[in-house]
Amino acid sequence: MTRKTTDSLNLVGSGLRRNDAVDKITGRARYLDDLHFDRMLYARMVVSEIPHGMLKKLDTRPALKIPGVVRVATAADVPGINQVGCVVEDQPLFAVDKVRYIGEPLAVVVAETPEAALAGARAVKVKIEPLPGIFDPKEAFDDTKNLIHQGGNMNCHFPIRRGNWQNPLAGADVIIEDEYFVHHQEQMYMESQGCIALPPDAGGSLTIYGSMQCPFYVQKAVSKVMGLPFSKIRAIQTVLGGAFGGKEDIPNEFCAKAALLAVMTDRPVKLVLDREDDIKMTSKRHAMRLKYRAGFKKNGKMTGIEVTGWGDSGGYITLSTVVLWRSSVHAAGPYVVPNVKVDIYGCYTNHVPSGAFRGFGSPQVIFGSETLMDKAAAALGIDPIELRLKNALQPGTKTITGHKVQSCGFVETLEAARKASQWDRKRAAFDKHNSKPGRTFKGLGIGSCYYGMTLGAKGWSFDKAAAHVMVLRDGSVQLAVGNTDMGQGSTTVLAQLLAETLGCQYENIHVLPVDTALVPDSGPTVASRTTVMSGNALLDAARPIIVLMRSVAAEMLGCAPGKIVVKGGWFSRNEAGRKKRVSFADVAGTAYMKNVVLGSLGSWHVPPLKYDIEQGLGEAYFEYCFAAHVAEVEIDRETGVVRLVHGWCAHDSGRVVNQTTYEGQVEGGFLQGAGWTLMENVALREGRMLADNFTTYIIPSALDATKVTVIPIETMSDHGPYGAKGLGEISMMPAPAAVARAIGHVLGEGPHELPVLPEMILAQLKRRGGK
């Protein structure tokens, strides 16, 4: 582990202005719905309104009688394979015999106007014979008769067996047990899903524009459905209006449908979901039932843990088998536990599929493990942060999978959050405040976690990135990477890293739009991986260019390449008393005239990981990030409504590349996590999500938001560019637990469920004879 000392970085670490900011403020940035093509048709999906049943009739002829309707596509029209399962092939593009959730696509109507497409979709005659639905993952797990798919309702199982796993609580002085239920969360990106497919061009290639995180996923999915080679599918990412994981694999389904209709009609086809359809049809954060048991010594040392979790996959697996593997590795939190038995199951239900959402299966178990820690702290009479410190992962200690951690500033995050929030003083003061009459209760809670960087052992084969760097003859630079900016600011951070490395100016770097015909595949933009993966790839690409430019500059300055210093757009030769220099642009221009090509393809992949998936043991991820959030809340004693007062968020994500975007990620992550705890209620009834727009699915507004203090702990990574690790997800992950624990500070017991709504808080206050 290396730590930041004095360093001479120019650009990395500063809060440079985002390179897309002005375009986005002025409205010049073009999002998917802003695009328009001549002769464009509008698509509308026909979906199942029954959560589980047999498709008996699908008559599309009435739709074709609606004025303006041009075509209707069903499974029968698919030229390739009627399959969009991303990891496991269990999901048809269009249902053929069985339907497994409300919102499952049956057909697509295209028409001259959105109105005609809607009327056409409503005219399609559908008959579905209902089957009994299953809406709870544990019930699905236990049910061996009502099977949603052949082969059983359990679709994956991830165990961890470490130490005395048969009896992990043996020898403990105190045993703590608890059960939790975590409901779904909706991503609620402000821009709903959408795409536009163009008709085949002269060479038979298809072009698809889309609001997508992973254009190379779309290329693969459309290729399969259309029966065309990858090279003939061009996926272009438009400016993304938020994604949070929701646009990882799900755009595959819409892009494939639009592409099919564009081929069938030979016209551009726009498929944009309105908010209700988006919520109905797209994946959520997994709901999860969790059982925890842990053993502690009297001194607070955790000796063993047993975790069983049932994740609600919904009707199809989509990404469950990767999401829930992450749940298993993170199940015990960022703590040292020698004896471990973890079992995480994925279970089919008749809900809309669950999939990727910031944190990817970890916020649920973090809520579990952090609530359990507080219960243990109370039982042992130890302060919650003190108990965490006693068990905290530190450099050289091992995670529950037996992986020795290297770069680890977890203890520092706990200490920093404690100090900044004035934890010790406030906890005592709030206890006193709460024991007296008044309008409010006050609570202070902590949530802490670790996060395994990038895809991990289970996704190792996909964990590579490539970057192409081209220095043009005027000294401006083009950077092509396959990772997308969905709002997190990756084009800014990557430009900063490249400018720092080449020694040129930040403004000189132009990051190309992500278009599968122009940029190399850098792997999916998920798992907080872009800064590290594409960052390392662009460093690799820059290396030979630097060598070439130095040698050109050396010739220009009449010295050896080793004598040259490159900084801020200048190549300088330093000699006693005299200074000579040439500009970056002059070197690029001279290189051009000397026929020196300043272009290079670089790559990086995650180091090999030894992991035993049967036992859940070994190197789960190549590196870990750490965080501790403290939340302060006030609870109205009459209404149970919780007001956020402040968040203190300490993060070890290695080197801070851009101070401003770093803070932005954490501030936004904290509120997104707090929103889930306090108000985001999907209200699923018999497979139907009753909260299906902004009126019923409430997300925090500016009036709910609060001050957030961001505290970076820069524990450098030996792997990441300039020591950086990842931040996108961990910025959100501990927040739901921290806010829930602040409420728990007031309630004493629980909460055992997320979200924890005012009526639940009031009921609990009443039960304990509310003061």
Partner: protein, 168 residues
């Protein structure tokens, strides 16, 4: 909603007199985006909840997905494209970019319009006034911290600009 009935509207768009004939069921937002092809103001919820389509109608910030195109007859409509070209709008752009108020950017034009209206009417708002003024536009990325900072910085830049003008 057959889309057959058409309506002709005369109004002032970003300072210029315009006329448009659009389907009668078109909202103001749809007319601006689809007829005039000014796509800076975004489309999202269509129920007046999220605020990303906010424009100024006769100077007031309103969600334009709730107004029919025909309702702006003889009125003044200012979109993000028009607003950011004004002296105060330039302050909004500068302040938002500087404070890191932008992430995905989808709510940003709505936030910028709301900020413009706030600072025009109240050049020295408190943080609470800024929060209230921006609460009609939802953001899922930022936690609002840097947007509020951006609104307050807009006011500072605007006051500075105005005092500069006054002296000159």
């Amino acid at each position: 909603m057959s889309g057959d009935a058409m309506v002709t509207v005369n109004f002032v768009l970003n300072g210029r007199k315009v006329e448009a004939t659009v389907p009668a069921h078109f909202t103001l937002l749809r007319m601006i985006r689809e007829h005039f092809r000014l796509t800076g103001s975004k489309w999202s919820c269509e129920m007046g909840e999220c605020g990303v389509c906010t424009m100024l109608v006769d100077g007031s910030p309103v969600p334009t997905c709730l107004i029919l195109a025909g309702q702006v007859q003889d009125r003044r409509v200012d979109t993000i494209e028009g607003i950011t070209a004004t002296p105060l709008g330039e302050c909004v752009v500068e302040a938002f970019a500087d404070c890191g108020a932008v992430q995905c950017g989808y709510c940003t034009p709505g936030m910028a319009v709301a900020t413009y209206a706030l600072v025009r009417d109240n050049p020295d708002p408190t943080e609470e006034e800024a929060r209230l003024a921006l609460s009609g536009v939802l953001c899922r990325c930022t936690g609002y911290v840097k947007i509020i900072e951006g609104a307050l910085k807009t006011a500072r830049l605007w006051r500075k600009k105005q005092s500069g003008t006054a002296v000159a």
